[in-house]
Amino acid sequence: MISASLTKEFEAVVGKENVFTSEPERQAYSYDSAVLDPVTPSLVVRPTNSEELGKVIALCNENNCPITVRGAGTNLSGGTIPDKRNGIVILTNGLNKILEINEEDLYAVVQPGVVTAKFAQEVAKRGLFYPPDPGSQAVSTIGGNVAENAGGLRGLKYGVTKDYVMGLDFFDVNGQLVKTGSRTVKCVTGYNLAGLMAASEGTLGVFNEIILKLTPPPAASKAMMAVFDDVNKASEAVAAIIAAHVVPCTLEFMDQAALKHVEAYTKAGLPVEAAAILLIEVDGHPGQVADEAAVVEKCLTKAGATAVHVAKDAEEKFKLWEARRNALPALARAKPTTVLEDATVPRSQIPAMVAAINDIAKKYDLAIGTFGHAGDGNLHPTILCDRRDEKEFHRVEEAVDEIFDVALSLKGTLSGEHGIGMAKSKWMEKETSRATIDYSLNMKRAIDPNNILNPGKIIAG
């Protein structure tokens, strides 16, 4: 319990209307998008400017109250589930201003609570482009994107969130402002703390302002869909496209199980007999797009695609993407609980990974549909289950463990973009080493001696 006097102190900083104390209001911040048990915070505080944010953090540290910063609460690894010991949730949705969009120097400065899609829209209005596009962008925040190093469909060609962070300032546990990076393309002033902050999941500092890189948008694009009767052939096609020195902006994969679910939901006439499909888009200036599209088409046919559909116009392109857009909605509707996994392997290992996932599905008698980013090996095996069925859910947990094992054995990684949080921290040592954990823990202890910055996430110990 937080004492009444401490609550008053928070109210003095942010105003009474920005401190939530009632049971229902607190319980509404006990979960995120991960399938994990909720933990109710003892207080929820919403600062509306930098000064308040700094003061709130200092107050938490002085009183030894663990902080969990929360953007939109859409992470899939429990990163915003508060700590059991008097956890306090700090909301960033009161810090949602775009402070600057600089069209000459191609950067923007934003507060952490700015919603990704809104930001991308504002940037687009000025004829510029912010590429990172996580599937949750309609609600996710830039702060959450940086703290999870969120990826998206465009990762292969344009990179992920960290590739767009030029600098940021963040509060340390004492509420002091730390600055790193700058508005310049080149900057080697001091440690690359901005790099450290990407994927830090709120455990090392609380972002205050973020400087993001912008680029000119591509002038043209072309999309196509290829159908395969064998996952290996799809994978060979991916390898061939890269070997031909074409980097598509998106290169998406869907396996048969996922296709069947999407078709059942959309009735769009998808090739449900196919072992896999690839959805590919190339972009750039029109001449380059035409050339690259021709190369891609050749690679697809050569690798044995049974059909290749090239979208002729924007309308057809929209239709082609229909299948991918509906992948998650279709899978989510099939069963009550949707466990969205994120195991990632080198792209050449996709056939091995997909085969292993299908074996695991059979072994544990589970429905698993797999879609994902073939270009970067980031797959989303999606387990369809009912969390109320304890026996089944136990099998789900075993299956997830095994999926990780396979991913690691294929020299892959636990998580391509969804983060470690609480869900995967027990696996950290297996992928890295004891020394990695110790090194991280030592750093964390030095920076955060009371262990109040989102404890229990990433490196639980």
């Binding site: 229902p24 319980q27 509404a28 006990s30 998008s33 609600v139 109320r388």
Partner: protein
């Protein structure tokens, strides 16, 4: 607190199968009008479902707090239309409101309005007829463009609302029962004006009658018909709702007609979808009657365009008075009617249709929501008002009288020179 939490939890468990489909992805945050004003998780669908799950699992003690959260919802259906998992959100919330209110009790004010007044058509009509005669004593003119009034003396009860006066003579008082045979169209409709067109926007009600006459559509408008029940159902008062539905069903089962037509998306979606859905415990013969009635329900815009074939030809008219169209939630998200009212507007060469931003974003009325959460409703309505003004339109049209009330209030409070008209009124002007 009088409620027995365990009992309440048991009742809520009935919703478990529906609630478990929510995967807590939080995409509802992008579209919820209430959340976008308050930015509180307990105000967005994901939060409300989480709280109901807690209540069902007896993990929360403050049931009143959950009830309050549950009531802070417009039932606009935006989240449902945008939900990746296809969760039946409005259904969950309507059922939950009824379960929770049954246990916690309805607030005395709501009870007085829903059961004493709206639920009692004779008394409701009498009170309003009586009120219409005296309202000028209590109110003063607020704005010319919208024809609204304000009532500083009544401020403690109705806030600083600007409202349109109750008609001197309601539709049913002026016309009594209308009963005309099918004309050249060969069709006859049961005309359900809905409370607001009957008692406040009678001009709009008369525009409907004019349109029916022009197209040779026979009309049956029984003077005794009552409210469709949606105010009671959405407020969680199933008792009052049942009374209205059964009362209407008895009347409607008697006549001969091809369609039930209303100039109100809320009334039609209630009759079409809610009457059969929330009456599963009624006697079998009543249910049968209701099913027959529900199958005939149709929005008036849809009736004119899709059944009678009214459709503009050639290019859309240009150069006239600018009009913009607001998509009512129950009309577009509930019934899928969006193009038809626009077609009707394009029939009138004196107007040029321009689209506003976020045309299908809720206006913030939410039926009875505005009565209990006026400040919040005003904020949501303010965004709608800004979009209307930014479109440059001199007239805003819509297909739902409740949205008309809300937009009249918002525009009037800002002294905007913009008129509010139902799409039927714009079409009727051409006849």
């Amino acid at each position: 607190m009088s409620a027995d939490l365990t009992k309440l939890a048991k009742l809520l468990q009935e919703l478990d199968d529906q609630m478990v489909a929510c995967m807590k992805c939080g995409m509802c945050q992008a579209v919820c009008p209430v959340f976008s004003e308050t930015m509180r998780e307990s105000d967005v669908t994901r939060g409300k479902i989480a709280l109901l799950e807690r209540l069902a699992a007896e993990m929360i003690k403050d049931a009143e707090g959950v009830q309050e959260a549950l009531n802070r919802c417009l039932l606009c259906g935006s989240c449902g239309a945008n939900c990746p998992s296809g969760v039946q959100i409005s259904d969950i919330f309507i059922k939950a409101r009824n379960i929770v209110n049954e246990y916690m009790g309805l607030s005395p004010v709501k009870k007085a309005i829903l059961r004493g007044m709206v639920g009692n058509p004779k008394l409701f009509n009498m009170l309003l007829d009586f009120g219409s005669k005296f309202q000028n004593l209590m109110t003063s003119k607020a704005s010319e463009a919208q024809g609204t009034r304000k009532a500083p003396l009544l401020e403690p009860f109705i806030g600083n609302r600007h409202f349109n006066p109750v008609a001197k003579k309601s539709l049913h008082a002026k016309y009594g029962t209308i009963d005309t045979p099918a004309g050249k169209s060969g069709l006859r409709v049961l005309f359900f004006p809905g409370c607001v067109a009957d008692k406040m926007y009678t001009n709009m009600g008369e525009a409907c009658l004019k349109v029916f006459k022009h197209h040779g559509v026979g009309v049956w408008m029984p003077a005794t018909q009552a409210c469709c029940g949606i105010p009671a159902l959405s407020a969680g008062d199933k008792t009052a709702y049942d009374k209205m539905v059964k009362y209407n069903a008895e009347i409607f089962a008697e006549g001969e007609y091809d369609y039930i037509v209303a100039p109100c998306g809320s009334c039609i979606s209630t009759i079409m979808k809610y009457w059969p859905k929330y009456g599963k415990e009624y006697p079998a013969d009543v249910q049968k009657k209701i099913e027959k009635i529900a199958a005939k329900a149709m929005d008036i815009n849809e009736f004119l365009v899709d059944v009678l074939g009214v459709k503009p030809e050639g290019d859309a008219p240009k150069g006239g008075k600018k009009v913009t169209f607001h998509d009512s939630c129950h009309l577009k998200k509930g019934l899928g009617v969006a193009e038809q009212p626009r077609d009707l507007i394009r029939m009138n060469n004196n107007y040029e249709l321009v689209e506003m931003d976020e045309a299908d974003r809720c206006c913030g009325c939410g039926g009875t929501f505005t009565l209990y959460h006026y400040d919040l409703s005003k904020k949501i309505g303010g965004r709608k008002r800004n979009n209307i003004i930014d479109s440059g339109a001199q007239v805003v049209s819509t297909g739902c009288p409740a949205c008309m009330m809300q937009m009249n209030d918002m525009l009037s409070q800002n002294y905007d020179d913009v008129e509010v008209k139902h799409s039927i009124e714009l079409y009727a002007e051409t006849l």
